[in-house]
Symmetry: C2
């Protein structure tokens, strides 16, 4: 069986670490392709160019509005060592670079060393008791394409779901692919950008374009739901951070993320 | 008066957004130039190539061990918009790229929008009551050059200063330039990498080479001491995160940082 995600993040090699991709509207939020989906296209190109399988740390700068249709991803490998390999990549459409990425890959199966994890995963009711999808209070059209491909459930006590600005800019919830595709290290960054913006708990934002997103992939996820917790702590002069953590179904931390985003009011 | 930092992070333009720099041992930790100091050289080159003054978000991937002596910084501008401009840069020595950086600059004087800051700055005794410099328990030679240029004071209750692995991997303290140079947005990233590794509170690490460091500069600092809080939450298979926050003397958050680093045991 081929899953939707794998079909739609396929990149075709053009030689010399250049790849061809197609941006569809199937991962849109409103009128825009989701940033995590676009990053997933770049990750596929990076994975094809680098000798290690797991994106340990990846940073994307969103430079210009992306378009639907064809794109070229130009990878520039920077280093291929025994444990780590690095590259930068440009995501180009119509001759203009839209996204710049820098990443270091490694192999989580081969990494070893001390493990001391802060046990700070929030308590959360099971997915079945969570809000399936925020319609009505969500400024995005309920038909956001992304949400038919990624099943995101939110803690039903989340203030902004009830139309409250609670002063706590945090979204807790669950996520998985709607078609049952297991989450792997190449798709974890998608989930780091699939929850609604946490800043909704503080400010009635209209649109929060990402300036930069960094994801650290910390472990291979076990099968099942991912638990996510995303929080904004500092809204300052129109910019804000969003910190995210994702745990797998065994309760193990599998990814951390942080983004800097702009806050546009209605 | 010319301050040490400004003298030592000077870069000379070679044309075509290429710059020449000199790596001195004056900012060493042990035998290695501090990563924040090397990043400061790249920041100078970026600032000379981009139309905006403040590095809002900057990510460095440390690819290979740097050397003392000459370096070339090659900047590739990616976008110059009205509010934001972006570039990537390679830090090259002896024909080999050692550091790759991607950054987006803006102008914090011109940014505006809602401000809602979580008031979560830790209580801390004043700098005069803090530990001036960890000798003895610090695995680095007490003559670490960096510490004569950057004055870092640590909370005297910090467990590892007393040789305890307290289970809390957090360093709180104060920092400023030793020669009184005011901290500006171009030097804030140096302070995001000037505190001892927070992981000392968990694991008796010998060396913690940074894979990737991201700094968000959130505001122009007021004059005086910076307060810093740096914390490691997840040590996993030899990798760990370190999250940092810096506040200025008025208590305003001025920078956030996160790094992914390797943990090498003695």
């Amino acid at each position: 069986m081929t899953f939707t995600f794998d079909q739609e993040v396929t990149v075709r090699p053009l030689g010399d670490d250049r790849f061809e991709a197609e941006v569809t509207d199937h991962w849109n939020i409103g009128d825009n392709p989701n940033g995590g989906y676009l990053l997933s296209l770049v990750i596929r190109a990076l994975a094809a160019s680098l000798p290690h399988p797991d994106p340990l740390t990846i940073t994307a700068h969103y430079l210009r509005r992306p378009e639907l249709g064809p794109a070229t991803i130009a990878v520039q490998p920077l280093r291929a060592g025994r444990n780590l390999s690095s590259a930068t990549a440009g995501f180009v459409q119509a001759g203009t670079e839209r996204i710049r990425v820098v990443a270091t890959f490694g192999d989580l199966d081969r990494s070893s060393g001390p493990t001391e994890l802060r046990q700070d995963r929030p308590d959360l009711v099971p997915p079945e008791q969570c809000a399936k999808r925020p319609e009505g209070f969500d400024p995005f059209p309920p038909a956001a394409e992304l949400l038919s491909r990624v099943d995101v459930r939110l803690d039903p006590t989340t203030g902004w779901l009830q139309g409250e600005q609670s002063g706590l800019a945090r979204n807790d919830g669950w996520a998985r692919f709607s078609d049952g595709r297991p989450v792997d290290t190449l798709s974890l960054p998608l989930f780091a950008d699939a929850f609604p913006p946490a800043v909704y708990g503080l400010v009635p934002a209209a649109w929060v374009p990402t300036v930069e997103l960094t994801v650290h992939v910390r472990a291979r996820p076990a099968e099942g739901w991912l638990q996510g917790s995303f929080e904004t702590r500092y809204v300052q002069n129109g910019y804000h951070d969003e910190d995210g953590r994702l745990w797998d179904s065994t309760g193990r931390l599998v990814a951390q993320s942080r983004q800097l985003a702009v806050l546009l009011l209605p």
